[in-house]
Symmetry: C2
Amino acid sequence: MRVLGVDPGLTRCGVGVVEGVAGRPLTMVGVGVVRTPADAELGHRLVAIERGIEAWLDEHRPEFVAVERVFSQHNVRTVMGTAQASAVAMLCAARRGIPVALHTPSEVKAAVTGSGRADKAQVGAMVTRLLRLAAPPKPADAADALALAICHIWRAPAQNRLQQAVAQHTARARTPSKGRTA
Amino acid sequence: MRVLGVDPGLTRCGVGVVEGVAGRPLTMVGVGVVRTPADAELGHRLVAIERGIEAWLDEHRPEFVAVERVFSQHNVRTVMGTAQASAVAMLCAARRGIPVALHTPSEVKAAVTGSGRADKAQVGAMVTRLLRLAAPPKPADAADALALAICHIWRAPAQNRLQQAVAQHTARARTPSKGRTA
């Protein structure tokens, strides 16, 4: 599966595409940062993020988009911008019918380092190792986006089993009404 | 001027269009609510809000969009949804080149009731009076959207004078370089 990870932010929105399946070596397809000027109007910044995300979706055609789930424990101002940038990323994916998954920062850290409380350097080091890169991706937002994509690929088997179970249950629940209309 | 006010929210996004100028009776052009189901996926809810806002922009062609500035004093979960819905509204407007203004809840309350700490009922009553409506618009989100539009129209003269001053200053600052290139 090919996953676009998005570490949302107004000033720096990290984006990274990873391809692979759980249990096999993963491949980095692309990594980068969508930047918007801090002195631009908020509406224009959101338009710039939309254009950036659209360009990544056009170029890499991911099957899934994994976005960091925003919490408000952090700085108030930053959190609002993060929530707004994440909304644009989710909107772009959902508009194309691409499934969007949200993962918390601690889920991502735990997935790639084994600890939900790992620091940026540790996440960067593991992303570098797991994707067999020559050096840690810079800035940290880019590395975090790749970590999100890796987290999604590794968590997907469990989530897929759950979705299949729900789909089967729904299909079974619908069978009697099909019988009635036949 | 014609202003679309948006009271952002994922479950109920209030929208109201008001036409007029400061110091003259105002006219309500339209009012409504864009709703999305609470059990839908977040990405799909944002797409539904985008469609709703686009429909209002298409139908009423406002010259300005006024959106409530989101604060995080409230409930954490609600604030994230509000920030995300507001991002979609700002994005839709900015994409069309429509200027977006943000007003805080207390600015809006102070504009229409004279008190920044007025309650919902007071805001509803004043919106009804100022727009000469038969009854307060329901739900409160719809009334709040109209209040935002009224607030913008009334605050606009001061903001316009400021913008004109900035524009004149910028034009003056550019004059010498024009001289050099001539």
